[in-house]
Subunit: 307 residues, 2 copies
């Protein structure tokens, strides 16, 4: 091991890259580890209208490319590799990656969360082309169109209610015969005459050439399979935080999310968190960015104490 | 009173405008009140390098103009007026402005913070006559002149570096023996041969007939008081939160900052906060933006319960 990083940032999405910009500007030797695509899951989205600072819609991949370049402008190293273990050792932190062990004085953990997918045909191919994981982001694109929401929890019903302000018709497709969402949300959904529910049904596939055209829906009770036309389909079947490496180090809630306050410190020396893996997160680029900056400034305060 | 707003946002800086983008996109009737300049204090800055999403430096006024336009794209109304009172009444909120009382179902309070003054003799009298709180605004007036910057944080050093492009000499007067500013800024200041630092020193007064002529500077270590000639003096010693309207409504700390958690809810129904008036804030555009979005999403959850 020939060098010690000042900061290693785990995760190269909006939170991680924003943290990196600040660490780089603070003249800290900074490495960002990303196991998939720099930019994070947002690069899978089609366009983004709600990142403040752009009056016109922008392409998420372009936005994130700018953030990557902004990091490199300040000497940050971006590396495609996966952290497989994290531990405190001596006065610093060790991270195991594919073929070596890295050492850092401080860590910003911003590994995000993953959407649960149905893992059925057409789903990945049509993601960003009618299939969406974020109603807050994409609802306005489906004004006066027919959309489906897949799920039965709070998120599914909140998204259905939000979509009903835009879409001509919203069908909530759920595998059971009742929702597990809060009763007040259920009441609002049932009272909204733009929303219908399709019970006991599984989505077996997403159909469409270049964009979503229909869903293949299997009714478990009748055994029947219908091809239902939809221009939009919103997956709301949950998310999983990437917090496996933190399990024995910081406080996690029952779903594996990090419990944090506005400081984004963890109580562990030199360990900060940012982004979607925090309990109560809203899965918005702007929030992840703000948290990345906040975590980096806390981290810089910590590093200054070591200088 | 002929209409009830869904949301009134108090403050048109990065936090308020970002909140407004989300409220507008959620199809809420949204008003932003700003008593000075839309865009907030950041528009007084020269350039901004650390707002994530821009690989090259940008002009803050342009960034904030984009945010204003982004709000208007979603039907948000921006109005130059000052909120002078805020109170809960019935199921909503009332805001007194210059010539009327406005009504809203929910409030996002993002009124920012104000510059702090030394409160010493000559300061207010010579404000605008050599004493300034904004190097970007006033630097060109001091071309080839000798100026002082008072403070030791990021703002002080950014202002010193900017002033060094115009002034013949810049003296940074700081009460401690080291800066708390970003390291990269410190490095640039120390490397700039137009800038000198005067450590461990307090400014006791500003002297001059019709315009600033000299500063009375007390060295805390030697006990000596010097009268140092300066034609310009830039105050960069901190800020005071604009939370007077919240005093009897939410919990404030001893300095008047709002005590908040990641949700940015206040405990009062339909009242959210965002930006620099929150305890522990870092005065960064990206953080204010993230908070604005977070507050808007909480606000939207609240409004949905009323629908």
């Amino acid at each position: 091991m020939d060098k010690i990083w000042d900061v290693i940032i785990i995760g190269g999405g909006p939170a991680g890259l924003s943290a990196a910009i600040y660490c780089g500007r603070a003249m800290r030797k900074t490495l960002v580890l990303e196991k998939k695509v720099f930019g994070g899951q947002i690069v899978l989205a089609d366009i983004i209208e709600n990142y403040p600072g752009f009056a016109e819609p922008i392409v998420p991949a372009d936005l994130m490319d700018q953030m990557s370049k902004q990091c490199q402008r300040y000497g940050v190293v971006l590396e495609n590799d996966e952290a497989t273990a994290l531990r405190r050792e001596g006065q610093g932190w060790r991270i195991d990656v594919y073929q070596e062990t890295l050492e850092a004085k401080a860590i910003i953990y911003a590994a995000g969360s993953l959407h649960r997918f149905l893992e059925v045909k057409g789903e990945k191919e049509l993601l960003g082309r009618g299939v969406s994981v974020c109603a807050t982001c994409d609802a306005p694109f489906f004004t006066q169109r027919k959309v489906a929401v897949i799920g039965g929890g709070d998120t599914a019903l909140v998204e259905a209610l939000h979509l009903a302000k835009f879409a001509s018709r919203v069908s909530v497709i759920h595998r059971r015969d009742q929702f597990r969402a809060e009763r007040i949300l259920q009441k609002r959904v049932f009272q909204n005459d733009k929303i219908e529910t399709i019970w006991d049904s599984l989505v077996l596939g997403f159909q469409g050439e270049r964009k979503l055209e229909a869903l293949e829906v299997h009714n478990k009770k009748t055994g029947r399979i219908d091809i239902l036309p939809f221009e939009g389909a919103f997956l709301a079947i949950g998310t999983i935080p990437n917090t496996a490496l933190l399990r024995d180090i910081v406080e996690l809630d029952v779903n594996g999310y990090v419990v944090a306050d506005l400081s984004l410190a963890t109580g562990q020396p030199g360990l900060y968190v940012a982004g979607e893996l925090i309990r109560g997160n809203r899965r918005q680029v702007a929030i992840a960015v703000g948290m990345g900056v906040q975590a980096a400034l806390g981290c810089e305060d910590y590093l200054a104490t070591l200088d």
